[in-house]
């Protein structure tokens, strides 16, 4: 007559009645029936933490009415190692290599954000050549990140790896450049307070210049194959919409914010580094849906190519470190500073409080990936699980930064 309760099929699925002493410590049932007074009988599905489409150890608990999501709660902390506490127990320079592990796809920009904040705290100046090198590295990182993102997005749409490998082919070339320069493919540890660590050779610069020159060809090829694709349009247009007011209030930053049409790019607003010397435009979306978020990445890559071409043209000769900057025994004066820059994922900020000792008293990372997830539930409501995977992919998170 009636279906047996789920718990009778699998005793571990029930948390209440089975006298298992540590049931509360279990990760919880992956699927269970729940009752809601408005919707009636619903199904709660726990996706993750080990799920290929969650881009790492991320869990979302989605409540479904039929196929539609009526509630979605993200669960964090599976990659938490208390980065901030570790950084408070080491010297300022000591946490520079550790910032690589925050957003492990974009270590160059994360390094720069940290160096920028320490320079603001201690009043260190940076020589011209280092400023240009920083912009070159940051924009190459943006190419790496956005190429990865558009590749993974098609993977989330179910295209089974081919577009991802096209994107990874380009990413690999840039990562080889990083390895030649810094010694590591992804954990570059390249920036220092008051400059950069290594000066690239003329051969390196020439290779990079040729790579950047050829990059638009990859973009054209990629777009010709995929941007107008019918399935792609059907699956992304009008999916996961956000209004500009919602986005600003929820603190979304980066391409996700600009896809809603809010003109806020820190390269223009703050004008940090030497960005005011460069000519580039800030692409803006209109609908705030998944398709616009995808297009933002493509258009930003084209603008990055423009910035890189100008940087290779104008790169001055000279020192790459401020001669007055101290690496050993570095103790900034007591005080605090909040530094931020436009990372590939959004506003990446560091907040440092110094008490005059060699270690920061307080070290805080403002993670764009975490705060961009604030609206994940609002974006997913009314859509299916399959769409929620694509929406999550279009937000672009890295769990090393979300959980810290």
């Amino acid at each position: 007559m009636s279906t047996p309760p789920l718990s009778s099929l699998n005793p571990q699925l029930s948390t209440g009645s089975v006298p298992f002493p540590f049931a509360a410590a279990l990760p919880g049932p992956s699927v269970r029936a729940v009752h809601d007074q408005f919707h009636g009988d619903l199904l709660e599905v726990s996706m993750g933490p080990q799920h290929p489409s969650t881009h790492g150890v991320f869990r979302m608990v989605a409540t479904l009415d039929g196929e539609q999501i009526v509630k979605l709660k993200p669960v964090f902390g599976y990659l938490h190692r208390n980065h901030e506490k570790i950084a408070e127990n080491t010297t300022y320079l000591g946490s520079m290599p550790y910032t690589d592990r925050l957003d492990y796809l974009c270590s160059m920009s994360t390094n720069w954000a940290y160096a920028l904040t320490v320079e603001k705290l201690a009043g260190i100046t940076v020589p011209d050549r280092a400023q240009y090198l920083r912009i070159i590295m940051a924009e190459l990182t943006r190419l790496v990140n956005h190429a990865c993102l558009v590749g993974f997005l098609f993977n989330d749409l179910g295209t089974s790896f081919t577009p991802l490998l096209y994107a990874f082919r380009e990413r690999e070339k840039i990562i080889d450049l990083f390895e030649a320069l810094s010694g590591s493919r992804m954990m570059c540890n390249y920036q220092r307070f008051g400059g950069c660590r290594v000066d690239p050779t003329p051969e390196w610069l020439e290779t990079a210049r040729v790579l950047v020159e050829n990059f638009p060809r990859f973009l054209d090829e990629y777009e010709r194959m995929l941007t107008g694709n019918e399935i792609m349009l059907a699956r992304t247009q009008g999916i996961g919409r956000v209004t500009p007011a919602q986005a600003v209030n929820a603190g979304l930053t980066g391409p996700v914010l600009r896809a809603c049409g809010v003109d806020y790019d820190l390269r223009k607003v703050d004008g940090y580094g030497y960005y005011p010397r460069f000519e580039f435009r800030v692409p803006l979306g209109d609908h705030g849906d998944t398709y616009d978020r995808y297009m933002m990445r493509i258009l930003e890559m084209r603008e990055s190519v423009k910035i890189l071409t100008q940087a290779f043209r104008d790169l001055p000769a000279g020192p790459i470190m401020d001669p007055k900057a101290k690496l050993r025994g570095f103790r900034p004066k007591a005080g605090e500073a909040y530094g931020r820059l436009e990372g590939p994922k959004g506003e990446l900020g560091f907040f440092l409080i110094s008490d005059g000792s060699p270690n920061p008293y307080r070290y805080r990372v403002r993670p764009p990936s975490l705060i961009n997830l604030t609206l994940l539930e609002d974006m997913c409501l009314g859509h299916t699980i399959a769409d929620s995977v694509v929406i999550l992919g279009s937000i672009d998170i890295v769990l090393g930064e979300v959980d810290r």
Partner: protein, 240 residues
């Protein structure tokens, strides 16, 4: 944009009952902040967001800070008549007194305006102490970007944000007891230890061994007293 001093004066004119102090920042960044009291926190936040000349519509960063109790030594110098010297000679006596300056937890908000593209305005709120009065007003109803960040501060520092819609731990697991970012947090000896099912089964097996009838090989020996001689004799038999 107006300076922090001008902003403080304007806020004091608008909220005469509020306590607003300027906290100076001596570092090279020189971004000063406003310390506001918790009772007027929400009103001030709403004012800052909606005021047409400020329009701070974007709360970028929320930071928790722990300031533990601090022991401060005061040295007071008093001049007394020198008993050994001639009349009129004086001696300076130093008197040291130590007092405990009570600690507090602090939340720092970095506000910017996306509409007018200026900022930052930095707000600070402090709790009364670090143990039982750790409540601050939540700014999540004003800026939704505070949602996860305030949850994180609740998790790692233990500040309770009043009127937060969903104040749960964000990074640590729900059964975790302490607040690990506090300065006096003591790490456990063994992070890996947890009450696993494996451990529970071992415990259960131990309990059975004590209470139930002797098992397996013990069945051959009738009592505990006779067991040692039996093994002894078997040993002696095996020797030659």
């Amino acid at each position: 944009m107006e300076t922090v001093e001008q902003l403080r004066d304007r806020l004091l004119a608008r909220f005469p009952a509020a306590k607003i102090e300027l906290v100076t920042n001596p570092s090279a960044a020189a971004e000063h902040s406003l310390l506001i009291d918790a009772a007027h926190g929400r009103d001030i936040a709403l004012f800052l967001r909606d005021d047409p000349t400020l329009r701070l519509d974007y709360c970028s960063n929320v930071t928790g800070i722990d300031w533990p109790d601090k022991e401060i030594t005061d040295i007071t110098k008093t001049t007394v008549a020198d008993p050994a010297g001639a009349s009129g000679a004086t001696k300076v006596v130093e008197q040291k007194t130590t007092r405990i300056q009570p600690g507090y937890l602090e939340a720092v908000y970095h506000l910017y305006s996306m509409a007018l593209k200026h900022g930052p305005v930095i707000l600070r709120l402090r709790t009364a102490n670090r143990s039982d009065a750790v409540t601050l007003p939540s700014f999540t109803p004003v800026w939704r970007s505070c949602d996860f960040q305030e949850r994180e501060i609740y998790d790692l520092y233990g500040i309770i944000f009043e009127c937060h819609p969903d104040l749960r731990r964000l990074l640590m697991w729900y059964e975790f007891k302490d607040h690990p970012m506090r300065k006096d947090y003591v790490e456990p000896d063994d992070y890996e230890w947890e009450p696993t099912a494996h451990g529970a089964i071992l415990e259960k097996a131990k309990a059975n061994r004590l209470t139930s009838a002797p098992i397996a090989g013990d069945a051959a020996t009738p009592g505990p007293g006779s067991a040692p001689p039996a093994t002894k004799s078997s040993n002696t038999e095996a020797k030659p």
